[in-house]
């Protein structure tokens, strides 16, 4: 394995981390529409809080996909064709939620607003759930053939482990979104979001224990890389404790950073366990390795230079855009329901 291959494996993980940190909260806000808003006015306020950002956040997923294609084409090909139905449904969810902002703004009737609000919520629930399932299946191992194609049946994709993984990721996104709402809104919505996090964090801890148990049972994480796996697992739990603490002590900023970091911790745990593979085969001989899944050193070099130049620029104006919209959404001024 060359250093460039290692770097790009790390960068793919980093891109997915940033994606979950950023889009995680707007998935959560989408789900929260059904949980803490009592009327269309309030749903409008919630959507307003992510309105300027969700599209930029989603680009991190597109970038992660594109970077995977560029740096590890054999991984990209195997993963994307292998998880065909899961990814198709993810796309479907992303389509529904992507148009919902614009379409809901244009809908005049209450029924129309309701419809597109639901599109956002369903899309925001399904996308992280399905991606969670896919990543869980990925580390669990799939029936790969010698050509690197997944030849799986229904149970290989949908099983207890992957469902728990999907629920865990969706729940983490929901909590992250609620923390974002606490940070971004005023009034009752903010209070309700806080109240709900206090209920959901205990649920999350149960979920994390279940997930850790299944991880122990269904993957080789703890036999192959025990130290780092345990450390990351403990870190994930600790971060959730910090977020819970923030919920009880009215420290929404702390909760938000901690819930985002938890999502990054999960990505780190999965990528750490995946290493030095990119696809885990049920037959270890068929696993695809970082060392032989990548593009040429030349292409990786080109991509490294490009990323080194562009990523700081992208980060700079993205962060700036968050500063422009760093003020809270004011309940009294939302006009979307005229």
């Amino acid at each position: 394995m060359s250093s460039l291959q290692l770097l790009w494996f790390f960068l793919i993980g980093l891109l997915f981390s940033v994606f979950f940190f950023l889009e995680g909260f707007d998935y959560g806000v989408g789900m929260a529409l059904r949980l803490i808003a009592h009327n269309e006015q309030e749903r409008g306020e919630l959507m307003q809080s992510i309105g300027p950002h969700w599209d930029g956040n989603e680009v991190w997923l597109i970038t992660a996909g594109g970077a995977m294609f560029a740096s590890f084409p054999y991984w990209y090909a195997s993963l994307f064709s292998g998880f065909y139905i899961i990814l198709f449904l993810t796309l479907f969810a992303l389509i529904l939620r992507g148009v919902s902002f614009e379409f809901r703004a244009h809908a005049l009737s209450p029924a129309g607003k309701k419809l597109w609000g639901w599109a956002l919520s369903i899309g925001s629930l399904c996308a992280p759930f399905l991606l969670g399932m896919m990543f869980t299946d990925l580390v669990k191992g799939m029936p790969l053939d010698a050509g690197g194609n997944i030849r799986g049946g229904f149970g290989d994709y949908v099983n207890l482990f992957s469902i728990v993984g999907g629920v865990a990721v969706a729940l983490l996104c929901l909590l992250h979104g609620l923390n974002f709402i606490r940070l971004k809104l005023t009034g009752e919505l903010r209070q309700r979001a806080q109240a709900l996090t206090k209920i959901l964090y205990p649920v999350l801890f149960v979920g994390l224990v279940a997930f850790a148990g299944l991880l122990l049972w269904q993957t080789d994480f703890f036999s192959k890389r025990p130290l780092s796996s345990w450390l990351l697992l403990i870190l994930i739990v600790l971060l959730s404790v910090v977020a819970t603490y923030g919920a009880y002590r009215d420290k929404e900023g702390l909760s938000f950073i901690a819930s985002g970091a938890t999502l990054i911790g999960v990505v780190a745990l999965l990528f750490n366990g995946l290493f030095p593979r990119v696809m885990v085969g049920n037959d270890p001989l068929h696993s695809i390795l970082i060392a032989n899944a990548s593009s040429t050193e030349y292409t990786l070099g080109v991509m490294t230079i490009v990323a080194a130049i562009l990523v700081p620029i992208v980060l700079a104006y993205t962060i700036w855009s968050y500063f422009v919209f760093n003020q809270r959404v004011d309940t009294k001024k939302v006009v979307s329901d005229k």
Binding site: F69, Y74, S81, Y84, H106, E188, S295, D337
Partner: protein, 479 residues
């Protein structure tokens, strides 16, 4: 493998055609609308004529609708190379992935972040700064076209590569960008995008003028549309001619099919305006011809003969049979290409004509456009034409490359995912079809309603600034 009489390959090809054609209704329209909105807002910045601010806001709403559908159908494109064409991704990833990743980093972030800035900060920044945001969106979406076409140009005309380890490997990144195909394809597409939005906007304005609504507003809009449309259409046609030269050189079969010539032409070559085909016996049944015209189009000279499909077919067999066997069919679908080309090129000429007429009758000195109801009808109906012309262009480009997915290097038949089943493809095809129908229908419905409501119904979409300073007193008070 055949399921219900349809092969996996056909299902995957159908899906690619459906998703890209649908996506490409919105892409050029959005790119062009961003430019038009930017131009309007810039005129406002310099002239301080509030009509132009109103125009930027109003047409911006329709732009945003189209942008939303363009974005969500765009994600499909990136995913489906891996999902449906995994062997293609394996073969081409070393070359094809880089432009896609760069497109995301350089273009998608730029447009998506600054579109958010543009939508929500009308009252927060000085007009000049605010206009800069929409220019950055225009820049971002235009750059995205550059990179995706870098990838497509390689598929049309592979350059700067070597075949090693069972795949195509990038030999030079700058070589990839220096592909001559790119520098005719990119301008053709980008000017085509400007043309698309310009005539769509002019057409929408024409319908409102027919209803005698907001005459000044739509008159100004129409003229912006027609000026941009005129310049863009002339450039699109001009670059299209250069692109044809490239095709003649790189993909002679594609060119012969767009001209519908089976047998080598005489010298000088005459050009069929229209003709009938007997595709079974590979014959032209009847035709209306302009003498010497094909020589002119091909060589920009009054003489010269053009190779027909039969000759090219023999040449391709001689060239590739050693590697791919003799069973491959090198004929591309001549009827589709022939008619697509005529619709596309004809539309280009037609756009130039109606732009000149529209600008002439609406000139400041003697504006009689309102009395030329026939012209307003023609402009109104023509708003759909660019979308048809764009689709025809891509049909020529992509179908004309048959049987190759990467010209001369890799066949479409080899590219499809081995692990995806016909059931998967039926399911996704049907679902895509349903959701596209819903998206397209809703988008047109909302755009039409926005248009009917007119520019004075402005703040109905709720993009007002609704934030409050978190540091001010009372910002956190609970009611």
């Amino acid at each position: 493998m055949l399921v219900l009489g349809v092969s996996m390959l056909s299902l995957a090809r159908f899906q690619f055609a459906m998703t890209t054609i649908f996506h490409f209704f919105f892409v050029p329209f959005s790119i062009g609308m961003a430019l038009l909105t930017a131009i309007m807002e810039t005129i406002y910045v310099f002239k301080r004529d509030d009509d132009y601010k109103k125009m930027a806001k109003f047409w911006g709403k329709i732009f945003l609708l189209s942008f939303a559908v363009g974005v969500v159908t765009g994600i499909i494109q990136e995913f489906q190379f891996g999902m449906n064409w995994s062997d293609y991704s394996r073969f081409m990833g070393d070359i094809f992935g880089a432009p896609l990743a760069i497109e995301a980093l350089l273009a998608f972030f730029l447009e998506s972040v600054f579109i958010g800035m543009w939508m929500f900060t009308w009252d927060r920044f000085k007009p000049g700064i605010h206009a800069l945001f929409i220019w950055l969106v225009t820049l971002g979406s235009s750059i995205s076209a550059l990179w995706i076409l870098t990838a497509n140009s390689f598929m049309q005309n592979p350059v700067a590569y070597r075949i090693a380890n069972g795949r195509a490997e990038m030999a030079s990144f700058s070589g990839l960008l220096k592909n001559p195909q790119l520098w005719v394809e990119f301008p053709h597409v980008i000017f085509g995008a400007f043309t698309t939005a310009a005539f769509a906007l002019a057409g929408m304005s024409a319908w409102r003028l027919l209803k005698h609504e907001n005459k000044t507003f739509y008159h100004k809009s129409l003229r912006v549309g027609l000026w941009v449309g005129l310049v863009a259409a002339i450039l699109t046609v001009a670059v299209g001619d250069l692109q044809t030269q490239q095709v003649i050189k790189d993909q002679p079969m594609k060119f012969a099919a767009t001209e519908g010539i089976y047998k080598d032409s005489g010298n000088p070559a005459s050009w069929s305006v229209v003709q009938g085909f007997d595709t079974k016996n590979k014959k032209v049944t009847w035709s209306i011809e302009v003498p010497r015209m094909l020589s002119l189009l091909t060589y920009h000279k009054a003489t010269g003969s053009v190779k027909g499909m039969d000759t090219i077919n023999k040449e391709l067999h001689a060239k590739y049979d050693g590697k791919y066997g003799s069973a491959i069919n090198y004929y591309v679908p001549p009827k589709t290409l022939f008619w697509s080309f005529r619709i596309m090129a004809g539309s280009g000429m037609f756009f130039i004509l109606i732009a000149v007429l529209g600008l002439w009758f609406s000139r400041a000195k003697k504006n009689t456009l309102q009395n030329q109801r026939w012209l307003l009808y023609v402009l109104g109906i023509s708003l759909w034409l660019p979308f048809i012309a764009n689709t025809c262009g891509w049909l020529i480009t992509e179908l004309g490359r048959f049987p190759w997915i990467v010209y001369g290097l890799y066949t479409i038949a080899d590219a499809v995912s081995p692990s995806v089943t016909a059931g998967d493809l039926w399911f996704s095809n049907i679902m895509y079809f349903l959701i596209f129908t819903l998206l397209g229908g809703t988008m047109i419905y909302f755009a039409h309603r926005t248009l009917v409501a007119g520019p004075d119904a402005l703040d109905g979409t709720g993009y007002a600034d609704t934030t409050v300073d978190p540091l001010s007193k009372g910002a956190f008070s609970h009611e």
